[in-house]
């Protein structure tokens, strides 16, 4: 039987079925065990994603089996497959339509880096344009790898999460994940649409060296 000191100097006895914790930990515990994935599956990684949800690997064991095709109902975006430049605005829009708190898993080599598709049409890693919490290597990854990523993401949520989402206030964290661009290249990049690039151009104008 847990015993707590009371403000009045006496003691309050708690019943056996009462647990004392922090509110953040309680919220994290709820969130991590009821992830609702948004399957953004564009290629062969999507097949492995389906296998992960199917009976053999059974993502329900980790509380994340409820795949929803509406971003309004999801809090975990799993980008499985290469993303072409024509689809990137769609990806960004879907990400912005998801409710907070939300997380993103970049599944497979193509979503993470562009993979073998180093061509004019394929985005070289979605983390240049949307935030990513977890990367899964593989081409495509086995369902076990995706499950491991979800378990790791659950650990991250339990470890870092706060009920108000303070962990997402990461102004500086994304700076190094900017798009790889030719800084100042004429006619190539529209810097007015890219706040990170604007910041770096301003830094370059003041003589501060820009990371290449």
């Amino acid at each position: 039987m847990a015993v707590m000191p009371s403000g009045a100097g006496g003691r309050i006895e708690l019943p056996e079925n009462v647990v004392v914790s922090r509110l953040d930990a309680l919220a994290n515990w709820c969130r991590k065990n009821s992830l609702w994935p948004m399957p953004f599956a564009t290629a062969c990684c999507g097949i492995e994603l389906m296998a992960t949800g199917a009976s053999k690997h059974d993502l329900a064991r980790f509380g994340a089996e409820v795949f929803r095709f509406s971003p309004r109902q999801c809090d975990l975006m799993i980008v499985a497959g290469r993303v072409v430049m024509k689809m990137l605005p769609v990806l960004q829009r879907i990400w912005q339509q998801m409710h907070e708190p939300k997380w993103c898993i970049s599944m497979g080599a193509c979503a993470s880096t562009g993979g073998v598709f180093d061509t004019y049409a394929v985005v070289q890693g979605i983390d240049r344009f949307i935030p990513v919490d977890m990367y899964v290597p593989g081409c495509p990854p086995r369902p076990e790898q995706l499950i491991q990523a979800i378990i790791d993401l659950q650990d991250k949520i339990q470890r870092e999460g706060t009920i108000t989402g303070r962990e997402f206030d990461t102004a500086g964290r994304q700076l190094r994940k900017r798009a790889l661009v030719e800084v100042g290249g004429p006619g190539v990049i529209d810097a007015s649409r890219n706040p990170v690039l604007q910041r770096e151009l301003a830094a370059a104008a003041e003589g501060i060296p820009v990371r290449s």
């Binding site: 024509k86 990137l88 990400w95 049409a121 344009f129 102004a171 798009a179 030719e182 529209d190 990170v196």
Partner: protein, 169 residues
């Protein structure tokens, strides 16, 4: 007894009567003719009347720096006859600047998207096309990426997007 289909030689001699002299070649039983661009539409229309009622594909080859090439672009029209199973490949060569062909959408409605694709990826305009938009690349794309002088990794188009961070999402 059904009447035997006209031989390839008969078709070619009839085509010469309409389009003048042109090159032909055969490879593994498949015949290829090279029509000059000004008479290509007329020749294709006549071939359709002769029974080549199916346009299998319209595509293009860029012969930039190709050994022995005399023209920059070579369009390919793959024709087939659903009645006799005969096939015929028609080539039409065009050059910079402003490579154009006459649209064959009036003959085969299925050429609509095929010619849009050729415009999108090779920049060859189909004069008279009812809907001359890009097919696969985004509307704001400015280049024709399957041209050989377009870099494989693009000119930065795939990077030219706003970056969404945790701060504004």
């Amino acid at each position: 007894m059904p009447t035997p289909p006209p031989s390839v030689d008969d078709v070619l001699s009839g085509l010469r009567g309409r389009c003048g002299e042109f090159d032909t070649s055969t490879f593994r039983g498949q015949t290829r003719v090279v029509l000059p661009e000004p008479v290509a539409f007329e020749g294709l229309a006549w071939l359709k009347d002769q029974g080549f009622d199916l346009l299998v594909d319209v595509t293009c080859v860029d012969y930039l720096d190709y050994p022995g090439a005399t023209h920059r672009y070579g369009l390919v029209y793959l024709l087939a006859s659903t009645a006799t199973n005969q096939r015929l490949t028609v080539r039409v060569f065009v050059d910079d600047p402003d490579p154009t062909v006459t649209s064959v959408v009036p003959l085969w409605a299925g050429a609509n998207w095929l010619e849009r694709e050729v415009w999108d990826l090779f920049g060859i305009r189909s004069v008279g096309h009812p809907d001359p938009r890009r097919l696969v690349m985004p509307e704001e794309f400015t280049a024709h990426p399957l041209r050989k002088d377009y870099p494989l990794q693009g000119r930065g188009e795939r990077h030219n997007f706003p970056v969404i961070t945790r701060d504004h999402s």
